[in-house]
Every structure is written in structure tokens, then in C-alpha cells.
């Protein structure tokens, strides 16, 4: 009977390590409203059929392994052929960046513990930040006023995001969920009462982002998956499988370039996904350690990554390979976060050695080092109009630099 999973199938799902929310899906007694292609469970009907067909047509494990090895080799050769020049060579004629006069303009104090994440509102002045102590605060960056504060029922709120309308914030962490809080103009109103649980993962929430509307939320999790959710109903719209370890970060492509996003994780891979089909369209693996953060270049044709190996790298999507590495022998601590300036020329990167380095994206050299934080920098984000950037740190403060 369609939609009903036998006890044996449920056991198989559990054995295969399926997240519990997917098991629930198949337990539903009414027909599944989504097509089976959106949730590729290893033991779903289409996978079993595919495996049987493969075995029938003579493909054994050995032949499949051979084919995957030869395809990998072919991909390497194809990518190598395109490596005709380095980015900094193409950028030789570009004039050097003149000295930047960037320094701390605001220090936002109020969190009681490490600040783990922050996000700007589209109005360019408000920010939301989340902390290890479970607090989520909405600030006015100009006046330093705390406009809203919510205490989450869990600690380590690792992800927070502002809704495009500016009327809500999403956050989550060790509760394995992502919840949306509508922001009320009435300061006395208890925000926690209006909380809506949207996303459910089987491990911590590492990142969240609204798509171009308040209606959909994209999340990444320690359970190795990313997922797209409908905010109103809490329904899972699409899930993204491919990472073989915790996914630590995600970033949506700039709206002009269509429905894709990039994710980075503990498997040292950065994957680009098609949001509609759930397909992993490109994959990059050149870092030596966990990728902590991924961020698109303003055109959406490239993205940067920050890793525990102390380097930041630029990957071009059309050349399908890494095109620049931003590193120095003196940098031995991991990079936690990156963001581009408006023109894409500057890359701001926060590190575990408490500094923020500013890199010349095209020439590959470091332009300056910004000091100020007294502990690890956990998150760096440029404001929507590019006039400043904010940094969040384990020293419990946020700083706005301009």
C-alpha cells in the first residue's frame, strides 16, 4: 500500500542511518505529496530499481568502481587543460589597491558569551547576532540600541539570519532546529511566544539563510545535509545529500544567477547545488581541512572559502577549479569566515588568531591586517550597501568596521 512503510523497511532505513525525519516521512499513512525524486533515500524504490538494473546489465561493484576511477581521472585532466594561466597573472595590469583606512567604528557589547554568528538586515543598519549562551539580539548598528532580544531554549546558537523583509529572524543551533521569530514593533511583546519551528535536522544546525523571500529557508546541518523548507508549513521542500561529514556553511547565489547555492563542510569539500532538483552540480576538494565558510563572489561566477587549514581559496565555477589561494606562512590559525566587498576586489577573512585579514582578490596578496578583537573571529559580513562590514567574535562583542 502506497505511503505505508513495513516494519522491515523502517528497520532498514534505521540501519542505513537515515535521519529520523525522513523515516517519519515514509511512515505517513497518507500518500506522500512530494515526488520520490526529491528525497533520495538509499533504499527508496527508485534506488533499488536502479541497483537491480545495474546488476542485471552486468555492472558489478568492480566495473562501477573502475568507471568512477576513470571518470575522476578524466575530470582531473579536463580541469588541468584549462589551467592556462593564473588569476594574478591576468590581473597584473590592474593597479594596486591603495591603502585602506578601515578601523573599528562601533563595538556592540551585550552578549554574555561567544558570539557565533551574525547577519545584516537589508536596511543596512540593523544586525542580528547569536551567541553560545542562547541569546539572539537584534541591534541598530548606528545607535548601538538593542532592539530585540530572545533567549533560545538551547545553547550554541550557531546560525542566525535576517529575513529579506526585515520582519523576522531565523536561528538555531544545538537544538537541531531552525526557528523563525517574527519581530514585533511592540517592545513589550514576548518574541518567544510567536516562535515557529521550521527546520528539523538530526544534528546541530550550522547555517541558515532565507531565500529571496521570507517564505523559504535553506539550512545546513551537522547531520551532513542541507535542506530547503517552507516557512509557513514547516514542510521539507528539498534535501541535499552528498557531503560525507558535517556541513558547516552555506551561501545562496546572488539572485541574478539563478537557483543555486554552495555549501562547505568537514569533508573538506565545497559543493554547488541546484535548489530545484537537489542535484550536486559541482564539487571542489582542495582544502586540507574543514571548510568553515563559503561565500559567493558578487557575480555568482565564483566563490571563496575559509578553512581550518589557514587558507582562503577562490573557486571559479565556469573554469570548474580553484583559481587562487590566499595564504601566508605566518598564518597558522584557521580561517573561520569570509566575505567580499561590493566590487569583489577585497576579501575580508576572520581568523582564529583574533585578526581579520583583508586580501586583494585579484592579485592574491594581503592588503592589511585588522586588530581589535580579543578572541577568535567567528563571523564576518559586509553590509548590504558595502559601506561597512561587521565581525562577531568569541570575545562576546561585535565590531562594525568602515
Amino acid at each position: 500500500m502506497r505511503g505505508v512503510t513495513s516494519a522491515r523497511q523502517q528497520h532498514q532505513l534505521a540501519e542505513a542511518g537515515e535521519p529520523w525525519w525522513r523515516q517519519r516521512e515514509s511512515e505517513r499513512k497518507r500518500p506522500n505529496t512530494r515526488t520520490s525524486s526529491t528525497i533520495p533515500s538509499p533504499l527508496c524504490a527508485s534506488s533499488l530499481k536502479m541497483a537491480c538494473q545495474a546488476l542485471q546489465s552486468g555492472e558489478s561493484l568492480a566495473t562501477l568502481k573502475n568507471e568512477s576511477d576513470s571518470l575522476k581521472k578524466k575530470l582531473e585532466e579536463e580541469r588541468a587543460k584549462l589551467h592556462d594561466v593564473e588569476l594574478n597573472q591576468v590581473a597584473e595590469k590592474v593597479e594596486l589597491v591603495s591603502a585602506l583606512s578601515i578601523r573599528t567604528r562601533r563595538v556592540l557589547k551585550g552578549h554574555g558569551n561567544k558570539v557565533l554568528c551574525m547577519d545584516w538586515c537589508k536596511d543596512k543598519r540593523r544586525l542580528v547576532s547569536s551567541s553560545q549562551d542562547g541569546k539572539v539580539i537584534v541591534w541598530d548598528g548606528y545607535t548601538l540600541n538593542k532592539e530585540h532580544a530572545v533567549t533560545m531554549p538551547c545553547t550554541w546558537v550557531m546560525a542566525c539570519a535576517y529575513a529579506p523583509s526585515g520582519c523576522a529572524v531565523a536561528c538555531g543551533g544545538l537544538d537541531n532546529k531552525c526557528s523563525v521569530y517574527p519581530l514585533s514593533l511592540d517592545k513589550n511583546e514576548n518574541l518567544a511566544a510567536k516562535k515557529k519551528s521550521v527546520a528539523m535536522h538530526t544534528n546541530y544546525l550550522s547555517g541558515c539563510s532565507f531565500t529571496n523571500s521570507d517564505m523559504q529557508l535553506l539550512t545546513s546541518s551537522g547531520d551532513g545535509t542541507c535542506a530547503l523548507w517552507d516557512v509557513e508549513s514547516g514542510q521539507l521542500l528539498q534535501s541535499f545529500h552528498g557531503h560525507t561529514a558535517d556541513v558547516l556553511s552555506l551561501n545562496l547565489a546572488p539572485s541574478e544567477t539563478g537557483n543555486t547555492f554552495v555549501s562547505g563542510g568537514c569533508d573538506k569539500k565545497a559543493n554547488v547545488w541546484d535548489m530545484r532538483s537537489g542535484q550536486n552540480v559541482q564539487s571542489f576538494e582542495t582544502h586540507d581541512s574543514d571548510i568553515n565558510c563559503v561565500k559567493y563572489y558578487p557575480t555568482g561566477d565564483a566563490f571563496a572559502s575559509a578553512s581550518d587549514d589557514g587558507t582562503c581559496r577562490l573557486y571559479d565555477l565556469r573554469a570548474d577549479r580553484e583559481v587562487a589561494v590566499y595564504q601566508k606562512d605566518s598564518i597558522i590559525f584557521g580561517a573561520s569566515s569570509v566575505d567580499f566587498s561590493l566590487s569583489g576586489r577585497l576579501l575580508f577573512a576572520g581568523y582564529n588568531d583574533y585578526t581579520i585579514n583583508v586580501w586583494d582578490v585579484l592579485k592574491g596578496n594581503r592588503i592589511s591586517v585588522l586588530f581589535g578583537h580579543e578572541n577568535r573571529v567567528s563571523c564576518v559580513k559586509v553590509s548590504p550597501d558595502g559601506t561597512s562590514f561587521a565581525s562577531a567574535s568569541w570575545d562576546t562583542s561585535l565590531r562594525i568596521w568602515a
Binding site: M50, S101, R105, V281, P298, T299, L342
Partner: protein, 68 residues
């Protein structure tokens, strides 16, 4: 059971690699040129790069007036 899972995983990987192998790629010289072009075209409208006056940047403190 685990043999079946292995086959499924291997088939998945092969399918994934076939998708990636079929992708059209450009030379770095072309891709990099476009990155450089974008940076150059937008450099004047990048406040952090060019620096803007204190009066137009809400985060920079305005110079105070001294009444003599």
C-alpha cells in the same frame, strides 16, 4: 544487504561523476578576465575599497564643530 548498499553508492557516484564530466568548462584565462573586468567596472562604487567621506558614511563619526 551491505553489498546492495555498496552497489547503490557506487552507482550514485558514477552518475554524479558523469554529470560533472559532462559540464562545459572555460579556460581560466577567460574566467579570470571576467572576474577582473567586474572588479574594475565596479571599483568606484565600492565604499570599502575607495573610502568615502565621513559625511556620507553613517558609521564614520562626523567631525565635531568647535564653537570658538
Amino acid at each position: 544487504m551491505s553489498a546492495l548498499l555498496n552497489v547503490i553508492q557506487a552507482k550514485r557516484m558514477v552518475d554524479q561523476l558523469r554529470v560533472e564530466a559532462g559540464m562545459e568548462r572555460f579556460k581560466i584565462s577567460l574566467a579570470a578576465a571576467e572576474l577582473v573586468q567586474y572588479c574594475q567596472e565596479h571599483r568606484r562604487s565600492d565604499p570599502l575599497l575607495t573610502g568615502i567621506t565621513a559625511s556620507s558614511n553613517p558609521f564614520k563619526d562626523k567631525k565635531t564643530c568647535i564653537l570658538l
